[in-house]
């Protein structure tokens, strides 16, 4: 009897809690609407920024449900998205980038957000290639969050000085500096040899060696002539040089470990995107001061960009008005400033003050403006911005094969890249 009454009591309590939560849900429903947001930003500054966005939407009366899925650099979140689509439980917005945005459009599940784009004048405030990347058949379906630059070279100034080397200005002076670092007994370049890291280095070398037109022809158009060209062979050759200045024992260590080595003076340089700044700041150094940032040197200048974005879906569990508000708020100057300052990127839209950003961010913005004018703005293939997963994977495979096989000639690597990319392209277009 006693047990039973306890049971009854707990049921009553449970029910009343349920009623209370249902009540608060009802109150939320009295708000202007809900949007569920699937993303893989689960840690550090990125997760905090999502909370900021959530708060900003709440102030406007919208409820943002933050469905963050950790792990796998986003691949887990993508798997969740697929299973949610299969079970007809679409999120209102999902973190999707690059050409995958257009791939999802073919499912007919994406939502048109031209209304927001028009009211915020996206075609004017967003850089041309970025704006185009957010569209399907001329309609906006996704909202960009930031602008990362890939082709950076991070240099520990005092280590360079100690080794008696000068700041590099072109390829030859870079190799000279690396040689001096090596003689001084310092690992010249910190690079883990993990394929993603090697591809990021390849990205930087490609734009510096071949320029924006070559880059676009090869990685965006997948032109077989450009992929198997002498220029591509030269890019591979330079990758071999870089590889020889890396610590072979560093194999398998993560990029942020490598950034740490540069900050601690155990290594001289690192080729990495500007998210490395977060790691530099964590180690109590200032990007642009102790650790210099410069565009990876070569014959050509350019800006290889990476943009995180969220694609909108027609979702039964999200309200259109809240989805619009999510897109609008994400591109608001206030959020753009807060988010990009924390993430190490620069605001993706015009009209945001860079006051308080570090020197490298200001440099990034300057180079970006110049690149946009000279048509030297290219989407990064190593960060999924230029090709879909299948083609990117095929290109990565060839780079990994070359990097780990000293007997493979640069010419053969370029040829193999052309044939593998072609096949993967064919397979992914069905």
């Amino acid at each position: 009897m006693r047990n039973r009454s306890i049971f009854r009591k707990s049921v009553t309590i449970g029910l009343s809690i349920a009623a209370m939560t249902a009540g608060s849900a009802a109150m939320a429903a009295q708000n202007k609407g809900t949007v569920s947001v699937l993303n893989w930003w689960t840690s550090g500054s990125e997760a905090k920024s999502m909370n900021v966005l959530q708060q900003m939407l709440a102030n406007e009366g919208y409820k943002m449900v933050n469905d963050a899925v950790s792990g796998g650099g986003g691949s887990n979140a993508r798997t969740v998205l697929k299973s949610r689509i299969q079970s007809n439980n679409l999120p209102g917005a999902a973190q999707i980038k690059g050409p995958e945005i257009q791939q999802w459009c073919t499912t007919g599940l994406t939502m048109n957000i031209d209304k927001v784009a028009k009211s915020q004048h996206w075609s004017k405030i967003l850089p041309g290639p970025v704006a185009k990347g957010m569209q399907c058949d001329g309609h906006y379906v996704a909202v960009p969050f930031n602008l990362h630059r890939i082709n950076w070279l991070w240099i520990n100034k005092s280590v360079l000085k100690k080794a008696g080397a000068k700041m590099p200005t072109d390829w030859d002076s870079l190799v000279a500096a690396l040689e001096k670092l090596k003689k001084a007994g310092i690992t010249p370049i910190a690079g883990g040899g993990d394929t993603w890291q090697v591809a990021t280095e390849f990205d930087a070398i490609a734009i510096a060696t071949g320029g924006a037109d070559f880059y676009r022809k090869a990685f965006v158009d997948l032109d077989p002539d450009a992929l198997s060209s002498d220029t591509m062979a030269k890019v591979f050759k330079r990758l071999r040089t870089i590889e020889q200045y890396e610590d072979p024992n560093g194999q398998g260590l993560s990029w942020n470990h490598d950034t740490g080595l540069v900050v601690q003076g155990k290594a001289g340089m690192q080729i990495m995107g500007d998210w490395a700044k977060g790691e530099i700041t964590n180690d109590n150094a200032t990007p642009g001061k102790q650790i210099a940032c410069m565009a990876f040197p070569g014959e050509h200048s350019g800006f290889v960009y990476n943009t995180d974005s969220f694609e909108m879906f027609k979702s039964a569990h999200s309200d259109k008005s809240a989805q619009y508000a999510f897109a609008r708020t994400a591109l608001s100057p206030k959020f753009q400033r807060k988010f990009n300052m924390a993430k190490g990127s620069i605001p993706v839209r015009e009209g945001v003050s860079l006051k308080g950003f570090d020197a490298c961010a200001k440099q990034s913005k300057k180079d970006f403006t110049a690149a946009e004018k000279n048509n030297a703005l290219v989407p990064s293939f190593s960060q999924d911005m230029a090709e879909n997963g299948a083609v990117k994977g095929a290109i990565f495979d060839v780079i990994a094969k070359f990097y780990n096989n000293k007997n493979m000639s640069p010419e053969d690597a370029a040829k193999e890249m052309a044939s593998q990319a072609k096949q993967a392209k064919m397979m992914s277009q069905t």
């Binding site: 697929k82 398998g252 299948a390 994977g393 495979d397 990994a400 094969k401 096989n405 992914s428 069905t430």
Partner: protein
């Protein structure tokens, strides 16, 4: 019903109960039977079907024949994965069996502290493969682990850099996997050894057989069922191997330590080529079936023959 009603009373409960006794096990097996029908065989069928379609980002039902298999067979990375599985699988099973049998025979010599030793050998199995992978990753890292340690002891010429050598990295996976599983195989063999009738051994000794002779001709042959179950377990573990490689080498350097399971996952889920991933999965399943079938047949035949004698 009409027939049974006159004989009601005390007997009536019994047939009902007997019927219940007969049906209850079957009824209680139905849910798990249904579950495995759908979630094992149903999904196997679905995977095979997907491997015959041109599915990319999402599963589709557009029949594409054997196109995925054709492409799969042209991919260098697939053959690297298959070759790795062959190297890994053969060495893993063989070394685990050898170490397991050796340790079990040693433990069976009525030694002191057997309980302690058994526990120590069995402990690695309690660890998750991911933990094993991470520990060995640091142990085998040339500038942090074993090589560094031995060099710091004075042997400066010592080199052990398999982890970063694309040709040797797959052998580090073998080392870690063997470390993890050989204790378990030891336990299997030890149980088998304890099950052997000691009077046979005594009879052989009276007949003048030496100890190695007793082991080679009597004990090891009678461990046949243990070999059978150990090999089945190890082969299926080898073909499924995924987490250990991800934690130890992450497939690297490059893709030199990829296994078919990693191929399947990466192409199916990361690269948006579900059809190709399904083709790889189907071939993996076929490989398991091929590896198991002859052994199953042999074992069943043995049993039937054994009964007829």
């Amino acid at each position: 019903m009409a027939e049974s009603s006159p004989r009601a009373g005390k007997i009536a409960a019994t047939p009902w109960r007997r019927r219940l006794d007969r049906w209850l096990p079957k009824v209680s097996l139905v849910p798990s039977g249904l579950a495995s029908l759908i979630f094992v065989y149903g999904f196997i069928a679905w995977t095979i079907w997907l491997s015959l379609t041109n599915s990319t980002l999402l599963p589709t039902n557009n029949f594409a024949g054997l196109r995925q298999y054709k492409v799969l067979f042209q991919l260098d990375i697939w053959w690297v994965s298959v070759a790795n599985l062959a190297i890994f699988g053969i060495l893993y099973v063989a070394i685990c069996l050898a170490i397991g049998l050796f340790l079990a025979i040693m433990l069976d010599q009525k030694i002191r502290a057997e309980g302690w030793l058994r526990t120590i050998y069995l402990y690695p199995l309690a660890l998750s493969l991911v933990v094993t992978g991470v520990v060995w990753k640091w142990l085998l890292n040339p500038s942090l682990g074993l090589q560094h340690f031995v060099q710091s002891l004075g042997w400066t010429g010592f080199s052990f850099d398999w982890l970063i050598n694309p040709h040797m990295a797959i052998y580090t996976v073998v080392i870690a996997a063997v470390w993890q599983a050989s204790g378990f195989v030891t336990a299997l063999f030890l149980a088998g050894l304890r099950g052997i009738d000691s009077s046979i051994i005594k009879a052989a000794q009276i007949d003048g057989a030496s100890l190695p002779r007793v082991y080679l001709s009597i004990i090891i042959p009678s461990l046949r069922p243990v070999f059978f179950s150990a090999i089945i377990l190890l082969v299926s573990l080898a073909i499924k191997s995924f987490d250990l490689v991800i934690a130890l080498t992450n497939g690297g350097p490059g893709y030199s330590t990829w296994l078919p399971a990693i191929f399947m996952y990466d192409f199916g889920f990361n690269r948006g080529q579900i059809g190709l991933g399904a083709a790889a999965a189907t071939l993996m399943m076929a490989a398991v079936a091929l590896a198991m079938l002859p052994m199953l047949i042999a074992e069943l035949k043995e049993r039937r023959d054994g009964r007829s004698h």
